[in-house]
């Protein structure tokens, strides 16, 4: 169940090849990691702003962007970005200047920092934390502070109403979001997103959405709540342009205005990626032979060394995960251009009177389910599917223990060979008990 995240790989490489100290190597590895993730963070909005306009056009029987970058207008977002850079950066004198300038950063920091615990592959995660899901939900809810700050500091009544609506909406939708995130955890028995995804390998019948009837419904509840938590239509009351002009971003212009959208689209991607990891098998394709092959390829770098085939397997897994997340983002876009916006009281009632009771019932159902199955089968099994925990324990994936891993960084004088020796010994011990 232990694994070496890719950051450790990079840090090892830097330390060995450039002769850096552990601390500097780790910091450099984190910066490389962060920069790669910035590319995803920036690339997702660039693609999806164009994609949304194109999809909206098709849904409304229009063409959407057609001019910039050939037939499909696929350079539209870049053109928009270049235009936005040249726009005047207005800060109204009535606004609280410092908070006004700070708010977009808050939004982007919150939605970008979730990427640090979001795994893209078996070992491709910046921080493989044992409380990953918990941290992710916590950081994601920081985003609302940026929105409230923007609304409050703008000095405009539209903005204030937008910010306050967002506050009320977020504090309500946070509850079903957290409960729906707990539902797969009660099945998986882990808060580590990597472990939750590993659990679901070996065919789509192992995906947690198909575990029992409650998780099936929980996925749809989660998706609804996640849509609301990124303030997407039909829950976009914070920026309802037909009622509040622009809502919290009425007074923003130019680049600063676009940062809110970067944060929003990145948050959409994150909640959809989390939905894929929690319910839809993460980076597992759902086709048993393909999953087995990819797992075998990943197993080659079990000791943390660099293996091209394991790298390839993880790249394919990342592609699978991103495709799943993008399908869900597409559904969010589709919903936005299909359903009319709710009124604020309807939004609140949907959450407080429907989604919270439904998610509570699902939570109780999902925790009673394995015990019921246990009773029904006379104490033989707790789920009708094959036991998923088997996916965690594979001889090929076994890696150095937590202690050995940390000791690499505690012992400053250890050479790579020493560390490999420690790792080898550890594997022997671990293998002996199996």
């Amino acid at each position: 169940m232990n694994f070496l995240p890719i950051a450790t790989n990079i840090a090892d490489y830097l330390r060995d090849s450039l002769g850096l100290t552990n601390g500097i190597a780790m910091v450099l590895a984190a910066i490389i990691h962060g920069s790669l993730l910035v590319a995803i963070f920036m690339g997702t909005p660039v693609f999806w702003i164009w994609g949304e306009r194109k999809i909206a056009g098709r849904i409304q029987d229009r063409m959407g962007p057609t001019r910039v970058g050939g037939r499909f207008g696929w350079l539209q977002s870049i053109a928009d970005g270049i235009k936005l850079i040249q726009k005047e950066d207005l800060v109204p004198p009535a606004a609280d200047s410092m908070l006004f300038r700070m708010a977009p950063y808050m939004v982007c920091v919150a939605s970008f920092a979730t990427f640090m615990v979001l795994p893209f592959g078996d070992t491709w995660v910046a921080v493989a934390s044992d409380i990953g899901l918990y941290v992710l939900v916590a950081i994601l809810s920081l985003e609302v502070i940026g929105i409230i700050l923007a609304g409050y500091s703008s000095g405009s009544k539209w903005s204030l109403f937008g910010g306050m609506r967002e506050a009320a909406q977020m504090v309500s939708y946070e509850i079903p979001l957290a409960i729906c995130a707990i539902i797969p955890v009660t099945v998986a028995g882990s808060l580590n997103l990597v472990e939750i995804a590993q659990l679901q390998s070996g065919g789509f019948q192992n995906w947690l959405i198909f575990n029992d009837p409650f998780t099936l419904v929980a996925f749809f509840v989660y998706f609804t709540v996640a849509t609301a938590s990124c303030k997407r239509a039909p829950f976009d009351l914070a920026e309802a342009e037909s009622e509040l002009v622009g809502g919290f971003h009425t007074e923003y212009s130019g680049m600063r205005w676009s940062f809110f959208f970067m944060g929003e689209y990145a948050a959409m991607f994150v909640v959809c990626a989390v939905a894929s990891i929690l319910f839809l098998g993460g980076w597992n394709s759902g086709i048993p032979p393909l999953d087995a092959t990819l797992n075998q390829m990943r197993g080659l770098s079990a000791d943390g060394s660099f293996e091209p085939m394991a790298y390839l397997a993880n790249a394919i897994g990342m592609g699978i995960l991103i495709s799943k997340a993008w399908v869900l983002v597409f559904v969010q876009v589709w919903v936005r251009w299909t359903l009319p916006r709710l009124r604020i009281d309807q939004v609140m009632i949907t959450c407080l009177k429907y989604l919270i009771p439904i998610s509570c019932a699902l939570f109780l159902g999902v925790i009673a389910w394995p015990l019921l199955v246990y009773k029904m089968t006379g104490g033989a099994q707790t789920s009708f599917a094959s036991p998923k925990a088997e996916n965690w324990v594979k001889p090929a994936v076994s890696t150095p223990d937590e202690d050995a891993e940390t000791s690499q960084f505690i012992l400053p004088n250890s050479t790579p060979d020493d560390r490999m020796a420690v790792a080898d010994d550890d594997r022997k011990v671990a293998g002996g008990t199996r």
Binding site: M1, A30, V38, A94, S129, S156, I175, I179, D345, V393
Partner: protein, 189 residues
């Protein structure tokens, strides 16, 4: 912990850097020509009346209180759910011995190599652990739900609360009011 906080700080610095760069480039190319019209707050073309730092409805406060009651309790479900899920894996008698050892070690928070064979959790005891956990969480959850039912009954989670109250109370001197159709007042902000 060190890993998480360190990464959070680094990621924050990286993204702030990535956002500042286009703003700094923009500083060279963008105009800066503020006029009183541009600087005024937008209220659909009308001159603004008063500041925006106004009082707003207290119902936001009630929603926030409901949130605190719920969210603080939901936090305690996270570690519970983890242990419960592990117990349910262990209660399945079909898992192999290797898996059982590994899961027990995880549950008892000891390295696999140091786990004594008598400490490996059997299916039966895992089932009882799960059942106890279920009872615990039912008690815990029912306290929460009683509170929620109380708030619901009191009408605190009705968004349009004032109007609801007006509707239920009989209007004084009903007989004196001519039967005209008045548009329904809705306080939706």
């Amino acid at each position: 912990m060190y890993d998480l906080v360190g990464h959070f700080l680094l990621f924050g610095i990286i993204i702030i850097g990535a956002l500042i760069v286009p703003l700094l480039i923009g500083r060279l190319v963008r105009p800066k020509l503020p006029t009183p019209q541009k600087d005024s707050i937008y209220e659909c073309g009308e001159p603004t009346i008063g500041t925006s730092y106004v009082q707003f409805d207290l119902r936001y406060y009630v929603v926030a209180l409901v949130f605190i009651v719920f969210d603080v309790e939901v936090i305690f479900f996270f570690p519970w759910a983890m242990i419960y899920g592990g117990a349910m894996h262990l209660a399945d008698s079909r898992i192999t011995e290797a898996t059982r050892t590994e899961l027990s070690a995880k549950m008892l928070n000891t390295p696999v190599a140091e786990l004594a064979s008598e400490n490996v959790i059997g299916a039966e005891s895992a089932y009882w652990l799960g059942l106890t956990g279920l009872m615990d969480v039912l008690v815990f959850f029912s306290v929460l739900l009683v509170g929620f039912a109380y708030v619901w009954k009191r009408g605190d989670i009705d968004w349009v609360r004032t109007v609801m109250k007006e509707r239920t109370q009989p209007t004084p001197h009903q007989d004196l009011i001519p039967p005209t159709k008045t548009p329904e007042k809705q306080t939706v902000s």
